[in-house]
Assembly symmetry: C3
Homo-oligomer: 146 residues x 3
């Protein structure tokens, strides 16, 4: 068993993309809020009060919320899996390209899902980039650790 | 490039708040269950069976679930971003105050959202404390790593 | 204060289960997609187009989504709490059994919830295994760090 050691250069990639993807994910809350105000659609009576509307449901709001939920399903687990992957000692270039691909896929996914709706397979393709990167990292890690 | 090194004192803050916020988040599951039993509102036929009710929907249950979802949107990503922030070598006191502010904001958010409903802007203010702390940490990390 | 040091053998357990549980969680997206195609139930107009159906709602799809949401509520926070727990220096055997129990509980939970629906208390029991392990780790960490 070789010791688990984190290379500084790899950790820099990791923390850079953790912050970048984190901010991207947090931006979804603001995007949801903007849609709520624009369409006067609120989920709580106390939010409706000042706008003199009732609790309602709006497809533009739900679309942003589904994009946000998709981030929740994919980004935190990527960050947890990829930390293990980096401990297996991949090459710097490969690691960097994988993180870039994941981030690009997630930004594109949100764009085609919730900013400018683009017909399928735009969403499934952009989603699958991040999915495949994460599965690849997980399987690499499992094989190394077995 | 200075080496990435985690200070033991900073890691102690991190793991302390990871556990505290983790337990807070897990408590939301119990709070949801309590509301479900109190209002006899269940999401699955197999849960309804023993109470002789049908699958239904209740605003008190949904309110706790929305507070829980808000935790899911904010707490794991804070813990992933803040680990990177700690690697940039902030002062112990600043780091401690930021973690305290984040935790306080999240506890208050749940309190005014799902325990005792307090009119806006109570919820948006308590939510924004954690949000601003997380964005600050992410931006600090990105600037340091660029 | 003893220094925080991660034992290599413990980190190997951690990264192994982070990858395993990550893949398990990501598999829920595919399971949801399979149910959507099987029942022709889609959440977006652009997904409905090629199947000539309208946006609809289906209980089999929702069941898988609820199991997925339960993973989101429990797995990432376990991975964040358990990292702190490992830093407190537990015995290798205890740590291994706790990770195994958590993983087994989560796999069983999904099985009885979304694969073959088994009456309660199957779901609540399998869920509680992971819940109790996570709370135990969090409380252990908090006591050690206080």
């Amino acid at each position: 068993m070789s010791p688990i050691a984190f290379d500084n250069a790899l950790l820099r990639i990791y923390f850079f993309y953790a912050s970048l993807l984190g901010v991207k994910m947090l931006a979804m809350s603001v995007l949801t809020a903007l849609q709520r105000f624009k369409t006067k659609t609120f989920a709580n009576p106390e939010d409706c009060h000042m706008h003199k509307v009732k609790v309602s449901h709006n497809e533009s709001v739900e679309r942003v919320r589904r994009a946000h939920l998709n981030d929740l399903e994919n980004i935190p687990i990527f960050l947890l899996i990829s930390l293990g992957y980096l401990s297996t000692g991949p090459s710097y270039d490969l690691a960097l390209y994988l993180f870039r691909a994941f981030a690009l896929g997630r930004f594109l996914h949100t764009f085609v899902y919730a900013i400018v709706v683009i017909p399928q397979p735009a969403r499934v393709l952009s989603w699958s980039v991040g999915y495949v990167v994460t599965i690849y990292m997980a399987v690499s890690t499992l094989i190394t650790l077995l």
